[in-house]
């Protein structure tokens, strides 16, 4: 690697301090990134990683400190300034326009021009194809971005950076949406980029990934640099402790399951979407009391529709669902709630919470109409507040008071509000859709423990997650969903991760040989 020969770091951030009213987001942060290096920035949500990168990308101004590029102090005024200095950012939520083509997305803002006001589309396509080929992947410049897979879209984002000849590439949690196979591919690509002499800043809170890809790891906690490590000289446990500030159980001790009688029975469930396409052509599954069934699958393989049908948000077009021996096919969400079904939706902002409502109202969204919160048409404010305070204490929700708007809470605490609401009563069935999406290790640990506790209390748990590790860690059984069908069922304690990943990506039929060996 040529980068290690150069003595001056490609990027140096010295003493960066950023204060917001009431908080110090970055407190004298020092960071240096060399040419050809993959530098991981590790920290919990809210630790200050994003603020630091926003400062680098010109989206925020530091109160103190300086930025040096190739040893020279620079002021970065705005994103276009950052781009012109060779800094590019791949955002966690892709900044791509779905209806535009790959080429249009790539050139946007840095257009290759023909005469006058017109774009030179041929030249742009040529350069894009050449760049893609140089780094070993293929993309049709004329394809609509909306029709691409998530992994391909990420490559479009990286192409955007390369097209602008980015020397410093910041990737914000790039693997959050990828399958294990796609993650491996992106790691290969990142290594190629680094070998080409570019610097990569890799933001993550996934420990094993950071250890797998980074040349150096900087850990940030509460706005400060806590440590600087090399992958060979550290362990996941040490990194987790640096990150959280205390010892963390990375994998919850799931203990032994005491499986009881059958609880949820689904037989030949069929679900169609709004456009009358049959998304779930027939799913059968059983979950017993005190058991966690994990559903692994790449997002968009019918998980959403399956859950919505189970919870009563969508009428199934066929099949049967019964809970504890009672037929509940096509019941309304409230019926399900009364039948003892708890539900943690995948998108907490859209379906789980009313963000503008205070915390105490969100805590009773499924029970507001019942005693003790309501007497007939009248609401009992005192009872609501009293129960809210108890829940806040019990589930360790960090809020100044339960009457602040839920939107002001961090993601982890918002998720705890939902968990508190759904877990607070005895349940027969608990349906969890990505219960820890976007949360930090501390919150994940807490929620996993709550799920295990619920299981031990005899609840049947259905866990759907795009996060394969999560499914592997806490499920008793794993069902792999592919194009709306359960293609395999494996034992949660013995399943092999790469085998599950392959089943997720191919459905198993395409590679019968590998499935047999798995």
């Amino acid at each position: 690697m040529t980068g290690e020969l150069a003595s001056v770091p490609a990027l140096e951030m010295r003493g960066i301090t950023k204060r917001y009213p009431g908080v110090v987001a970055n407190d004298h942060i020092d960071l240096d990134v060399r040419r050809g290096e993959i530098h991981a920035l590790l920290g919990e949500n809210g630790a200050g990683k994003t603020t630091l990168m926003n400062i680098l990308y010109g989206l925020a101004r530091p109160n103190e400190g300086e930025i040096l590029l190739d040893g020279k102090t620079v002021q970065i005024a705005d994103p276009s300034d950052a781009i012109s200095r060779g800094i590019s950012m791949v955002h966690q939520h892709f900044m791509l326009v779905p209806v535009l083509s790959v080429a249009e997305n790539v050139v946007l803002g840095a257009e290759t021009m023909a005469r006058g006001p017109f774009l030179d589309r041929r030249e742009a396509s040529k350069r894009i194809a050449a760049l893609a080929a140089q780094f070993g992947f293929e993309l049709d410049p004329d394809a609509r971005v909306g029709s691409l897979s998530v992994g391909q879209q990420q490559r479009v984002e990286i192409l955007k950076a390369l097209y602008r000849d980015a020397q410093i590439l910041v990737l914000d949690e790039p693997t959050a949406v990828l399958t294990p196979q796609e993650t491996d591919e992106i790691f290969v690509l990142l290594r190629r980029l680094a070998d080409d002499g570019r610097s990569i800043i890799f933001i993550s809170h996934k420990l094993y990934e950071v250890l797998a890809i980074a040349d150096r790891i900087t850990v940030i906690r509460r706005g400060r640099v806590i440590g600087d490590r090399k992958p060979g000289e550290t362990t996941e446990a040490e990194l987790a402790e640096l990150m959280v500030g205390r010892e963390v159980e990375l994998t919850v001790d799931r203990g032994a399951s005491h499986v009881g009688g059958p609880m949820l029975h689904v037989e030949g469930l069929r679900v169609t979407d709004e456009r009358k396409h049959e998304i779930v052509p027939g799913v059968s599954l059983d979950i017993r009391a005190g058991e966690i069934l994990g559903i692994a699958g790449v997002a968009g393989n019918g998980q959403d529709e399956l859950i919505e049908a189970l919870i009563g948000l969508r009428k199934p077009s066929g099949g049967k669902v019964s809970l504890d021996g009672r037929d509940i096919t096509g019941c309304s969400p409230r019926d399900m709630n009364r039948a003892g079904v708890g539900y943690v939706p995948g998108d907490r902002h859209r379906f789980g919470l009313i963000l503008s409502f205070p915390v105490y109202d969100n805590l009773i969204l499924t029970s507001y109409y019942r005693e003790p919160y309501s007497h007939g048409p009248l609401r009992d404010g005192a009872a609501v507040a009293e129960s809210a305070d108890a829940q806040v204490a019990r589930f360790d929700i960090r809020v100044p008071s339960s009457n602040v708007a839920t939107s002001t809470l961090s993601g982890g605490n918002q998720q705890k509000v939902i968990v508190a609401r759904e877990f607070e009563r005895p349940l027969k069935l608990l349906i969890l859709d990505q219960p820890t999406r976007g949360l930090d290790v501390g919150s994940i640990e807490f929620i996993h423990k709550q799920i295990i506790a619920k299981r031990d209390a005899g609840t049947a748990v259905l866990l759907v997650s795009a996060e394969l590790d999560e499914v592997m860690e806490i499920s008793d059984r794993i069902a792999v969903i592919y194009r709306g069908r359960i293609v395999a069922e494996l034992d949660g304690r013995t399943a092999d991760k790469s085998a599950v990943g392959l089943l997720m990506a191919t459905g198993g039929e395409a590679n019968p040989a590998e499935e047999a060996t798995a």
Binding site: Y20, P79, I83, V99, L100, L108, G109, A110, F118, L119
Partner: protein, 359 residues
């Protein structure tokens, strides 16, 4: 079952179809000429909408912008004529200095009203439907009131632009002559509209401005992260689009007629909005939709000018005349209802853009 087919048999269906075709052929010239003319202000309104909505701002104030421009243009021209005299019409579409002053005033007025909409909806992030409604109601009220004040003084207008007269030799060309005549025998605004349609179609899909406009209307944050100033781009598009709707107003009060009347836009702004949707937010599509809507208007106008005779005439007489006047609006509603849901608006259309907070 048997009653209805028997009754139908009594009507010579085939005969009426032939009569209709014959009538349309006989009146092809006048119907196609009125169709193109009626389409002009609808197209201009639709183009104004395309420009706004492609960049992410919903603009239902087209009607108000047009009406304001129609009034201001007419009044400025009349006032100028009063001050400096009408002068002799130039060979260029019979343009006079007061008329040109009127056009300039109308365009400025349209852009100012658009600026108001831009400020309300982009900077203050007011609900864009409310903002557009304010403009429509305000324009109708203010121009109506001002006009009633002025008409008491019996102000004489500054006249109107003349149409281009297509040489008779071209009109007489077989097959295409009538079409060339229909397209070209228009005043300056009408001819300019056709040029603007083509210009905007090319610009929107081939130029840097077009790409940035489309990106801002679909995913403004993505545009902002690659260094595009979305707020400034939306301001520019909305204000520039005001000039287009204003030309629609100019056409009404200075090209088609030489007068202003209260409420003279008669819903053309809203039909323009429908044309924009049916035309899938493209200039060419909007123009096509405007022509479609206008052709119904052309047909119903033709009915009043030269009423068909025979069975066809009898059949048409069965329906009150008001129905034919309402027909263009009915067709607009029917076509629009068929397109809504299938014609997909820019994703960020109508969503105020907030810059990433400095967090």
């Amino acid at each position: 079952m048997s009653g209805i087919p028997d009754a139908l048999n009594a009507i010579p269906v085939l005969g009426i179809v032939f009569q209709l075709v014959g009538y349309l052929l006989a009146n092809l010239d006048s119907i196609s000429n009125t169709t193109v003319a009626i389409a002009v202000p609808i197209t201009l309104a639709a183009l104004c909408g395309v420009l706004c909505e492609r960049s992410g701002v919903v603009n239902i104030g087209l009607e108000g912008i047009m009406l304001t421009a129609a009034f201001v243009g007419w009044f400025a021209a009349a006032a100028a004529a009063g001050a400096i005299g009408t002068g002799t019409p130039s060979p260029f579409f019979g343009a006079t200095l007061p008329l040109i002053i009127g056009v300039a005033a109308a365009v400025v007025a349209g852009m100012l009203v658009s600026l108001l909409h831009a400020w309300l909806s982009i900077s203050l992030r007011v609900d864009q439907i409310i903002s557009g409604t304010i403009i429509n109601i305000g324009a109708a009220g203010i121009t109506g009131y001002m006009y009633s004040l002025i008409s008491a003084q019996s102000l004489v207008g500054a006249g109107q632009f003349e149409k281009y007269v297509v040489p008779q030799g071209v009109v007489d060309l077989p097959i295409v002559g009538w079409l060339i005549n229909a397209v070209l025998s228009q005043g300056p605004v009408g001819l300019l509209t056709i040029a603007i349609v083509i210009f905007l179609q090319v610009m929107l899909f081939r130029s840097r401005w077009g790409l940035r406009t489309r990106a801002s209307g679909e995913h403004p944050r993505a545009a902002e992260t690659v260094g595009i100033d979305v707020i400034w781009l939306r301001y520019r598009n909305v204000v520039a689009s005001g000039a287009l709707a204003a030309l629609g107003g100019v056409w009404l009060s200075m090209e088609q007629t030489g007068n202003f009347n209260a409420g003279m836009t008669q819903g053309r702004g809203f039909i323009g909005l429908a044309a924009m949707i049916v035309g899938r937010w493209t200039p060419l599509g909007a123009f096509g939709a405007a022509l479609l809507f206008a052709s119904v208007g052309g047909f119903s106008q033709s009915l009043t000018i030269s009423h068909p005779t025979g069975n066809l005439g009898d059949l048409i007489n069965l329906v009150p005349g008001e129905f034919w006047e309402a027909l263009p609006y009915i067709i607009t509603i029917v076509v629009l209802a068929g397109f809504i849901g299938r014609s997909i608006a820019p994703a960020a259309d109508g969503v105020p853009y907030e810059r990433e907070s400095a967090s």
